[in-house]
Amino acid sequence: MGSPFHEQVRSAMTTPGITQRRAAGTGSAGAAEPLSGESAPATSLLAGYELGAAYDEMFDRDERPRPHYQQLAQLLDRTPPEEFRRRKAMTDLSMRQDGVGFTVYRADEGIERVWPMDPVPRIIPADEWQHIEAGLVQRITALNMFLWDVYHEQQILRDRVVPPRLVLQGSSFRREFVGVDVPRKIYIHICGTDLIRAVDGEYLVLEDNGRTPSGVSYMLQNRQVLKRVFPSLFNDYDVLPNDDYPAALLDVLQYIAPESAATPTAVLLSPGMYNSAYFEHSFLAQRMGIELVEGRDLLVDANRVFMRTTRGLQRVDVIYRRIDDDFLDPLTFRPDSVLGVPGLVNAYRAGNVALANSIGTGIADDKGIYPFVPDMIRYYLKQDPILNNVETFRPEVPEHMQHVLANLDSLVVKRVNESGGYGMLVGPASTAEQREEFRRAIRANPRDFIAQPTIQLSTHPTFVDGRLEGRHLDLRPFVLCGERVVVTPGGLTRVALPKGSLVVNSSQGGGSKDTWILAQTGRT
C-alpha cells in the first residue's frame, strides 16, 4: 500500500485530462489508492464529463483541471461513485436532522424542504477573491452614497447622471423618508450581491440585493456539514473560515444603535415560522444571542419600541428586520399588514430605534437603477468599476429599443418593478406568442423594462445520477457595512440541478455548494 501522500505527489505530475479519464476509467491515477481503501473504482465520477459553451469552473478548454482544482479533481477521480453516493446521503441526513430547510408554498400549504447541498465544493483562488472583494466594497460604498444622496440633496439627479424620473417614480422609492437622517449614514448594512461568470470567466454583477437578502445561514451550514461528512476534501486546501459572519453582523447592529443606549438591545424581527427563510432567522438570532421576535412581540409607546417579556416590557434599540418595507408598519405602509409593528416607522424617524437594513433601500437595487451603478461609482468615488454589470439595454433609449425588439429571441427581458423571476421573458426559451406580448408591452411602457443578453452561467461538476455532470451556478457573497465594510470570505453558491437549466433558485429545485475561498499563501 503506497502512502497517500506519495500518491498525491506522483499523480499531481500526471494529472489526467478528461479524455484520458474517459478512455482508461481511472486514467493514469488507476494505481492510486482510493480514499476508502477499497479497490479502485471501475468508472471515475468524472468519466465522460462534458464541457458546454459556458465557462467551466473546474476544467479549462483543453479539458485539464485548472490549477486550484487539481487536487480536488484527483480526489474525485479516486473516489468510487458508491462511496460518493453514501457521502451525499449523509449530507442530506445531516441537513434533515439539523432541521436545515426552507418552506415552499403550494396550494396554501407550506411544505418543509430539506436544504440540498452538493458535496463537491466550489473553489475560488485568493487572487480572484481579492478582485471580487474589492469590487463589492466599492459597489456597496457607492450604493450607500447614492441612497444618502437621493434621500437628501439629490445631487446625482440634478447632475443628470441618473435620470430623476427613474428614482422619483420608482415604486421602491420612499418619499416619506426624504430628509430623514439614518444612523451613521448607512442605508444598506447587509447586502447579498449576485455574481455570475461570463463565458470568458469574468465575474459580473447580476443584481444587488439590498433589502432583506437571505442565504447566509446556508453558506455557514454548508461548511459545517461538509466538514462533518467529507473531511478529507479539506486536506489539500487552505480554506478560509466563514464562521465569523454572525459576530460581524452583531458588530454592525451594535454600531448603529442609538447613542442613548448604553448597552443596546438588538432583536431580529421575523415574519414567523411559516416564512420560507425562518430557519435563517432563528439561526442568526441564536448565533448572535439576540431575541427572535415577531411583530406581535413588539409594541411602540411614545415613539419607543418595547418587547413583551415575562417580566414586563423591555426596551429595544436595534431591529434587524427580515420583513419588507411594505409590511413593517401598518400605520405608514400597508395597513393590512399583521406582521409589522404599528408606530415603528415613527420611532425610527425619531431616532429611538435603528433598523437594518434601513427603509427605502429598494431604490438602490431596483432593476431600472441597476444599469446606472457603474456611473454612480464613477460619480461618487471617481473610480472605474472593478466588477462590471451584465450588459443591459433600456428600451426607453431609442437605439436600445430597436436592438431589443429585433433580438427578443436571444435576450432576457425583465420588468423593473418585479423580482424573484416574475414578469420575465427568457428569449431562447420563449414562444412567438410570448415575444409578441412583450413586444407590445415594451412599446407601450419602455421604461418598465430592461433587457440583457442570455448569459451562459459558468458550470461546475455536480453529483447527478451517480456521476459528476456540469451544472450552471452563481455566487452570492455577503457584504456587511458598519464601522467598516466586511465581505465574508465565501458566499452561497446556488446550482441549477436540471441539465442545461439557468434557474438557480432553491424554490425552483436549485441546489447549493460549499464555497471555498483559498488563503493567499496556500499549499495550492
Binding site: Q97, D98, G99, G272, S282, Q286, D297, R308, T309
Partner: protein, 316 residues
Amino acid sequence: MLSRVADALFWTGRYLERSACLARAVDVTFSLDLDLHGVLSNPVELEWNALLSMLRQAPPQPGDSEHPVAAVQRWLLVDLGNPGSVMSCVNRARNNARSIRGSISPPMWRELNKLHWRLSDGTFQAAVAESPHDFCDEAQVGVLLCHGVCDATMSHDEGWHFIQLGTYLERADKVLRLLDSKFGLLERGDAVDLPVRNLQWGAVLRQCRAYEAYQRLYISRVEPERVVEFLLANPDFPNSVRFCLERVLDSLTEISGRLPGRCDGDAMRTLGSLVSELTYLDGEELDGERLHGLLGNALVRCGRIGHLLQQQYALH
C-alpha cells in the same frame, strides 16, 4: 424573556411529556393485555377501554379487516387525525420548539427533530399493527434523550424552567389521571384473585416506570393502597405526583425571582398548598371516598395552576 417564547417552551415540555406518557400507557396496556388473556374472559376490551376512557376518547372506528385493538393502537400512536396521539404530540412539541428555535440549544432541537423524523417513517409506523412496542419504546427513549440533552446543553435559566414547568405539570396530571381511572379497581378490592391484582397494579406502576422502585421500597406483593401512596406522595421518585409538583414549585420560585417559600401569585399559592397536602399525607386517608375526593381535587387544581400560569406570565 419574551412571553411568546416562554409559552412555546412550556408547551414544548408539555407535549413531549404527553407523548411519552401515552406511549408508555399503550406499551404497558399491550403487554398487560397479553398477560391477562389467559385469566380473564374479556381482558382486551376491559383494558383498552379503560385506557380510552382515561384519555376521554371514544373508541375509533376500525378500518376494513382491522382488529379493534389494532385500531385503538393506531389511533393512539400514529393517527394525525387524533390531536392527542403520540405522533400529534411530538409534532406539536416540534412545532412549538420550531417557532422558538433560537431559544433552545441546537443539540436539543436536533434530538427533537430526529425523534420526529424517526416516528414519521411510514414503514416504522406500519409495524405498529403487529406490535406497538418498538414505536412506543422509540417515542419514550426519544423524549428521554430530549430531556437529557436539554438539561446538559441549555442554561438552567428562565427558559429552561418554563420547559420544566410544562414537563412536570403534565406528568403530575397524567399520574393523577391514571390513579383516578384505577379507583374503581381499588374499590372492588378482593373481587379479583391475587395474581391478577398483582398484574393490574403492576401495570399501573409500570405505566409510571415505578415497578422496580416500588419493589425496592416495599419488598412485597403489589398492594393497591401502597401503590397509590407511592405514586402520590413519594418524595424521591421522579414520577410521583409530589416529586413532580415540587419541581414545578422549584421552577416557579426560580422564575418569580423570590426566595423559596415566598408566595408570588395565585398559581404558586394553589401549587404550594397542594404540595404540602401531599407532603403531610396521612396514609389512612387513602381509603374509599376520601381518596376519590383527594384525586379529583388534585386534578382540578393542576388544571387551575396551568390557567393561572398563563395569566401571570401572559402566556398565549
